[in-house]
Amino acid sequence: MDNQVKLLYRRLDRERLARKEAEKIIEEKSRELYIKNQELERTAAAESQARKEAEILRNALEAFTSRLDLDEITAHLEEFMKSFIPHDSSAIYFFDGEGLRLHSVLGDSKEGKVIEEVITPTVLLSDVKRSSSPILILDGINDAVASEWGIHVETRTWMVVPMSAHGQNIGCITLESRQRDAFSESATKLAQALSNDAANAFENARLFQELEQLSTVDQLTGLHNRWQFNATALLEFERSLRHDLPLSVIMMDIDHFKRVNDTYGHAAGDSVLVEIAAVCIRGIRSSDIHARYGGEEFCFLLPQTDLNEAHSLVERLRAAVAELHFESDGQDFTVTASFGVSERLDGEDSLENLIERSDQSLYEAKKGGRNRVMIWKPT
């Protein structure tokens, strides 16, 4: 019996030790699992960040490639930069011969000025031209490169991102922040990727513009393009000046066109342009000169037409546009347009001034509530 008790105790002792060992193993395993879990969380966070960046780039690329207008691409680039890379001001420059041409500045004017001052040194220019990756000044006040360039940087952090299209730097984007060390590595990478996408879009837009200047007709609307308009309009203008004949110019702009694009998509926007152009061509005479002057801006030159005649014609155009019905994905919508009209003044010898006055009237029509016609009156 004694022996049995002794054996039993021994067994209990062993079991106690085994339990302790098990606890140790389990504790170790849970620690391993905890570490593994943390690793997984870190990986998941990194993946989600990478996915987000890929999404941004995809959206950006889509936005860029669907546009052939410099200003639209600029607006989109600025919007993307603003949304995803925190900064105080930005600027876009293009190389122009030996120099650098400021294309646009976003941010407060003080910062804007700073950029212009900073970018001027030719040392920097050649650096940006050669560089294939962003140049970063992390602490503008104490940075060696900045002082080497002999520039005073009021901003703390400054980044120059070269824009490379088809292996050639066509310009650069600068981003400034008043914060020190404001741009992380991933932000820098993102800026580089965005700027390259934008560079290709800019380059395409430039080529498109060149091509457009060579042709006479706007591919989408069938209206003449701006360059063709300027050439033929000048002939008519000179004729009217020579023979003292009346001549009027109508400027037209589709109201809230950006909203149409944003709400119904670019395809719908395109069909709006096409239909309105068709209505306008039907509404004017064959002797009148028409053009798609800008994105959603049309221009008409009416030879031998005084202001009163032009007014009644343009009023019909306005009503016809407002009556058009559009449809996109089962949704019906209508659009309106605003018009500005002006007549060649007695002895006036500048077509540019005439167009400018019509444009001013158009601006007044927009200001006055849109879907209306404004006739230019001397103030």
Binding site: L7, L8, R10, R11, L17, A18, R19, E21, A22, I25
Partner: protein, 179 residues
């Protein structure tokens, strides 16, 4: 070797022989682990060899017989602890091919570092199955016990013939067919 195999083995010794036998066995085996095993731990398989050899000396039952019995015992324990593996299964010929693909997969979830034997099954003709066993541990007797207990579990009248094949350690083919 997983600690659970050791603790199950001692349970068998307790049941089949006696509590004192188990204690004597542990004492005489001078095990590096001192006989302290936990189910989740991993131990030198050589300890199992020592234990089985010593048990044979202690009881006079041959090592192959002890292993076969251990196999049977493990199967019974397994069928009680894990009824889910048997759901919808009506015969050995249905169950045995699932050991490799299903049971072992589940085991690895719990013990990712377990070194499991491989069992591959073929059906050369209707009513006959050949299960080939390959293991670094080379314990065909234990496997035979498991197979026999499986046949008993389903209440079938099948016999198991053993053939030793090639390899190092050699593979063992269990030919299972009607009596």
């Amino acid at each position: 070797m997983k600690g659970i195999i050791f603790t199950e083995f001692f349970e068998l010794v307790d049941d089949r022989f006696s509590f004192e036998t188990t204690e004597r066995l542990i004492e005489m085996s001078h095990l590096p682990s001192q006989g302290i095993y936990t189910a989740v731990g991993t131990y030198d398989p050589q300890e199992m060899v020592t234990i089985v050899t010593n048990l044979s000396a202690l009881t006079g039952v041959s090592v192959p017989d002890l292993l076969k019995e251990f196999g049977r015992y493990l199967f019974k324990r397994f069928s009680i602890s894990f009824p889910a593996f048997f759901e919808g299964i009506g015969s050995s010929f249905e169950f045995l091919p699932r050991v490799e693909g299903y049971v072992h997969l589940e085991v690895l979830k719990l013990y990712p570092d377990a070194e499991l034997p491989s069992f591959s099954c073929t059906v050369p003709e209707t009513g006959m199955m050949i299960m080939t066993y390959r293991s670094k541990r080379n314990l065909p007797d234990l496997s035979e016990g498991l197979i026999l207990a499986c046949i008993e579990y389903f209440g079938e009248s099948l016999v198991v013939r053993r053939e030793t094949g090639q390899g190092d350690p050699p593979e063992t083919r269990f030919v299972i067919m009607p009596k």
